[in-house]
Symmetry: C2
Subunit: 297 residues, 2 copies
């Protein structure tokens, strides 16, 4: 039996003005809702440029409390209530003085605060200096039971780790949302064109298959210049939704802002999970202990 | 610095005659070697039809010892020595009276016996009654150090489990070989064409990305009738090799036997692993304990 819902992904560019970015996201969320979206998700850190291109302690001023009743959360909660939709939003969390996280908040369709996810896997690469800004998440891979289904959240770099994707499935996720900020940097040396981008899409499609759930990945778009004159990052856009067969069912453009709205049939999960007795029955849990090691040497 | 090797995958159909199947595989292995392959891998259970379409205890007569010096292993070892190539071959192992495994043996390029892998994840689906025949493997996810690189083996159903693919990477695999027997059954109800096949390819491409290694999957080809009149299985063929970016670099045909020979540059792994600091540095091993549970409810 079909279980149809609709989701909306907000792919946008950002300026230096947090309020402007927030207002734009709100406009796009309204647009998604007007197109019928029941669950809407922003990109990672949607209120700012991707400030991790440099390690600059003044950027900590961009962080804010992310709790029930904190300012942005309250505004998003009111929006969720007004539109009757679930909202997932990527924020820069100030948890305590000197303690920050890369976080996503989840609000139910009645505006109630369901909780937050803190990015577990933190990258550190040229122009992606996230280990300077973000302490690793400590809330695990929680699943949020919303009016429109049970969902998990991963944030960007998490998307490369099958362990995280699996743990969300084991916690009952029917779909996962992945707010992201990824693109080509001026420092990339990529002789073969789109292979990084393709790998990024492929690994997430792989999670969709391995766990027989939907994956919805929301990326930012546009070029953001490096403040230290080291070129910058050209974000890929191309937000996408993969179904439980790993098929990309909808994909946003490479260069433009876009409100990507897509219908999902959550019963497809059962087609795969019951039809293939997959993936839980045959997992060899007696043989997986090594996964909690760094390496097996 | 490039590290070029060449691999060969033997995609074939099988008859009821084990000797004929073996001889055909040997001919194809010779052909692969003559085309320059350094490592050659057969499909799963290459000496027989896919007998698991029914649960029939007379089929246990097809099983054989798979040990250093056992008959088929000795023949393959002589072949490896003669051709100077690594051979990986899928066999039906009789371990003890009433104890059988779905196994692959690995022989080094000097013919020496490096060991075997026993299929860890055993399916049980209409026309794939493997739990009747095969005890689950108990040798773990060992990596074999061969003259031409360090390789892991998974067998068919294992290919859907990211945990297995990751453990091989953590054991040092530079490439994995996946002897397989998969196709459409007459009982499949697949409204949307090739989605099962695509999912099968996608999940393995995902392993290649997540672990930054090569994946070489060897499938059988042709239609095998069900002995109980329940239609049969139309094996997909389409053996393929995915590079560490998850790109399919070579793929065999859907309906024909084929010796698929492909050059690999093993240094591509370093491009990804060093270039992206990926995947080991940032794994959140403190958060992966749940993977050893059946489900997290």
């Amino acid at each position: 039996m079909e279980r149809m819902i609709s989701i909306g992904l907000i792919q946008m560019s950002c300026s230096d003005d947090s309020e402007e970015n927030h207002d734009k996201a709100v406009d796009h969320i309204r647009e998604a809702a007007s197109q019928g979206a029941n669950i809407v998700c922003t990109q990672e850190l949607y209120k700012s440029r991707y400030f991790c291109q440099t390690a600059d302690s003044t950027m900590f001023n961009l962080a804010e409390k992310v709790d029930e009743g904190s300012s942005t959360v309250r505004q998003l909660s009111e929006l969720a209530t007004e539109l009757g939709i679930v909202v997932i939003a990527g924020l820069f969390e100030k948890r305590a003085p000197g303690l920050y996280h890369n976080t996503a908040v989840v609000l139910d369709a009645d505006g109630s605060y369901l909780g937050k996810y803190r990015k577990m896997h933190i990258p550190e690469d040229p122009l992606f200096y996230e280990k300077f800004y973000f302490a690793p998440g400590d809330l695990g891979y929680g699943v949020f039971s919303t009016k429109y289904g049970d969902l998990g959240v991963l944030i960007c770099w998490d998307q490369w780790y099958p362990e995280a994707a699996r743990l969300l499935a084991m916690n009952g996720a029917e779909m996962i949302f992945v707010p992201t900020a990824i693109g080509h940097t001026s420092l990339d040396n990529e002789p073969e064109g789109t292979q990084y981008h393709d790998a990024w899409q492929t690994v997430q499609r792989g999670h969709a298959v391995a766990n027989a759930y939907y994956v919805a990945c929301v990326n930012r778009v546009g070029f953001e210049e490096n403040p230290e004159g080291k070129g910058g990052i050209d974000f890929w856009g191309q937000s996408f939704i993969a179904d439980p067969y790993g098929k990309v069912v909808k994909k946003a453009s490479e260069h433009d802002e876009e409100v990507l709205v897509c219908s999902l049939d959550l019963s497809k999960m059962d087609d795969v999970r019951v039809g293939w007795s997959f993936p839980f029955r045959d997992r060899r849990i007696d043989s997986y202990g090594g996964l909690t090691k760094r390496y097996l040497d």
